[in-house]
């Protein structure tokens, strides 16, 4: 920590940090567009201009020169400096709010807005846009620009990414993000002067395909204006309508901290957390948009052979089946929280006490049998796309190998499938092809075992329709719980969506089933 003078007041700042970050820590906001804590400094936007100076030192005595009031004389640099590119030196003087700085910022803002279409009513970024915020706080309310604005049509450059060149202020953030964080060199600045645009430059030459990586949402997010937009949420809402909750992303075992964006009890997207310095600046597209179709085809009623029914009718019938069964197999659990896993384990011990042979297997997919739990797809996303696979692995020993699992499935009298066919919220009825690829689905289909399968599911799909019975359970955003991430850390998720009243979690529905089972057992004894 060193002492510097900000607007004449002595403050202590962390000199290892960038000046903008260091001042932000002591609640002094320096406007910035191109600067991002995770990206290299380029100093392109010039909105962070500050006045810098040093105390005047008498060369003979090496002592500060004092003015008539006894204060040290400051030698101000004649030109303004870019705040993001200024190193913190002990004893430096900076002005972030002097008239000269304010005038310079107003001028820079006027330049940035020369070609900006000012179409905030239409722009999806409006409400979370740095340009909008700083235009209101440090800009000027009128423009002197009378000429015709540059107009370049909007382009689709990514599978989920649009670029609106008119809104772009050429801050270079997207180029640096793609190059330094994602590691692809496919965005670049083209042309010069007024014609400069951000262009997609694919490796195989212009026009060959679209930008297709897992961080297009992050690109739109770090864009300080509305130049980069995500197509799948385009015009679906306005940002100030979103309710925000702190939660964790259920998309993979990394369990990133996220802020949820909810409107009308529907999740629109996940956003990076409110305190990014602690919790990470970026989240991947897979997580960000994982809940975009979450509210479609939710399973809310108990199903008996595909027909909607009531729990009072379904549970006693299934309890009888449990009563008659000898081998019970529980499949799944990688999507359930620690609390639910404990409940499922309690249910299995109940069945064991009643003399059943109970097995529990959590591995259903190929990568699970190959033990690829720690395989990273990119710097955030894991191959293991279940939120609590680490927790279930610590709790359940499982079966020896895949052959044993398949023979156990064939031998079981009753199979409880916990959320396997709806996880991670991708297998709905309209996505039947994807569901058919599921190894467990194929196994049950080929051996015609549906009459002994009970699906605990969040979404209605062909599995819940063809199973003996399906129990609706709470989905990830609707319940609080503890999850174990890939590093073995326990993470708490919060309730972000309101579930219909009475919808149980998987632990609760098994407990309700076992109350009937135990009643029946007491009667028969």
């Amino acid at each position: 920590m060193v002492n510097i003078f900000v607007d004449g007041i002595e403050v202590s700042v962390d000199e290892s940090k960038n000046l903008i970050d260091a001042l932000k820590e002591i609640n002094i906001d320096v406007p910035h567009f191109c600067y991002h804590p995770k990206l290299e400094v380029v100093g392109m936007c010039r909105i962070c201009l500050i006045e810098t100076g040093m105390t005047k030192i008498d060369p003979a005595t090496k002592a500060p020169v004092l003015d008539e009031n006894g204060k040290p004389v400051v030698m101000w640099n004649p030109k303004l400096q870019a705040g993001c590119n200024t190193a913190i030196t002990p004893g430096m003087h900076i002005n972030v709010a002097s008239d000269k700085v304010k005038k310079a910022r107003e001028g820079v803002m006027e330049f940035l807005l020369i070609n900006h279409p000012l179409d905030c009513p239409v722009c999806d970024k409006s409400g979370e846009c740095s340009l909008q915020n700083y235009s209101f706080s440090v800009g000027h309310e009128t423009t002197r620009y009378k000429e015709v604005k540059r107009n370049i049509p909007q382009e689709k450059i990514g599978t989920n990414l649009l670029i609106n060149h008119n809104r772009c202020i050429l801050c270079y953030r997207c180029v640096r993000f793609d190059r330094d964080i994602v590691g692809v060199h496919d965005l670049e600045m083209q042309a010069r002067g007024n014609d400069t645009v951000i262009a997609y430059t694919p490796p195989n030459g212009a026009g060959s395909g679209l930008l297709d990586h897992n961080y297009q949402g992050a690109l739109a997010d770090i864009c300080p204006v509305g130049a980069l937009l995500n197509e799948n949420i385009l015009f679906r809402s306005r940002v100030w309508w979103y309710e925000q909750n702190q939660s964790i992303c259920h998309g993979c075992s990394t369990l990133c901290n996220v802020t949820t964006n909810i409107k009308n009890n529907e999740i629109y997207r996940y956003m990076p957390p409110e305190n990014p310095e602690k919790n990470g600046y970026f989240i991947c597209d897979k997580g960000r948009f994982s809940t975009s179709d979450f509210s479609r085809d939710r399973l809310f009623s108990y199903l008996l052979k595909g027909h909607a029914s009531k729990s009072k009718d379904v549970l006693p019938q299934i309890a009888e089946r449990v009563q008659l069964a000898h081998n019970i197999l529980v499949i799944g659990g990688t999507t359930e929280s620690q609390e639910d896993l404990a409940g499922i384990q309690e249910a299995t011990t109940t069945w064991e006490r009643l003399g059943k042979a109970v097995k529990w297997e959590y591995r259903t997919l190929d990568y699970m049998w190959n033990n690829e739990w720690d395989v990273q797809i990119d710097f955030l996303l894991m191959k293991d796309q279940r939120p609590n696979s680490a927790g279930v692995r610590a709790l359940v020993s499982g079966l020896a190998n895949r052959n044993e699992y398949e023979s156990a499935v064939k031998a079981a009298d009753l199979i409880f499938v916990v959320n396997e066919f709806a996880a991670p919220y991708a297998y709905r009825t309209d996505n039947f092809e994807e569901l058919k690829q599921n190894p467990l689905y194929r196994l049950l289909e080929q051996n015609n075992l549906w009459d002994r399968v009970i699906v605990l599911g969040t979404h209605a799909n062909s599995a819940t329709a063809s199973a003996l019975s399906a129990f609706p359970v709470l989905a990830f955003p609707e319940k609080a719980g503890t999850f174990i991430d890939k590093k073995g850390m326990a993470r708490k998720s919060q309730v972000s969506l309101k579930a219909p009243q009475g919808l149980p979690s998987s632990a609760q529905v098994l407990a309700a089933l076992n109350r009937y089972v135990e009643q029946n057992a007491a009667v028969t004894v």
Partner: protein, 174 residues
């Protein structure tokens, strides 16, 4: 002029000539006769036979919602949701969509209101939507809302509200 004080605690004693009501009745009949002569012979009647005949409304009258187009006949509304957001009665429902390239001549921006419904059963005609609109697209200048016996007809759709062409320039009322 000296005022006549009547003590209400005591019962007013009518004078003998007041008991005939002659003075009051003739005063009232004079007013009636005056207006009868005015409207019957001098054509100075004040009532109109509504709804066939209507009196001009004030330029600030807030009535039915009207959607405006710009000088080139394009829809002004860009589905910014400002009116829906400001509406205190929650009467406006908008669904936005992106404009297809072949329809671009119909809209000013690349976003338009696919659905724009105003629920007159909820609307309180406060005019906040008109004030909030940054594009001058919605005005409450469509006259007096008429009652209806169908709920559907009281939910205005964009087609019902859209004026054929032209329209007022932004900020101008009437």
């Amino acid at each position: 002029m000296a005022t006549k004080t009547i003590k209400v605690s005591e019962k007013y004693a009518w004078k003998w000539y007041e008991k005939f009501y002659f003075m009051s009745i003739s005063l009232g009949m004079f007013v009636t006769l005056k207006h009868f002569i005015k409207s019957a012979f001098l054509r100075q009647q004040v009532t109109v036979s509504y709804p066939e005949e209507r009196k001009p409304l004030s330029s600030r009258f807030r009535g039915l919602h009207r959607h405006k187009r710009d000088e080139e006949g394009r829809e002004r509304c860009t589905a910014c949701y400002c009116c829906q957001w400001v509406c205190p009665a929650d009467a406006i429902h908008i669904e936005a969509a992106a404009v297809k390239p072949e329809e671009q001549h119909l809209y000013r921006e690349d976003k338009y209101a696919k659905v724009f419904n105003v629920d007159l059963l909820r609307c309180i005609f406060c005019g906040l939507c008109e004030e909030a609109c940054p594009k001058g697209a919605i005005y409450l200048d469509g006259g007096i809302p008429m009652p209806d016996d169908s709920r559907d007809r009281l939910i205005l759709t964009k087609e019902m509200m859209m004026e054929p062409t032209g329209g007022k320039i932004i900020g101008e009322r009437l």
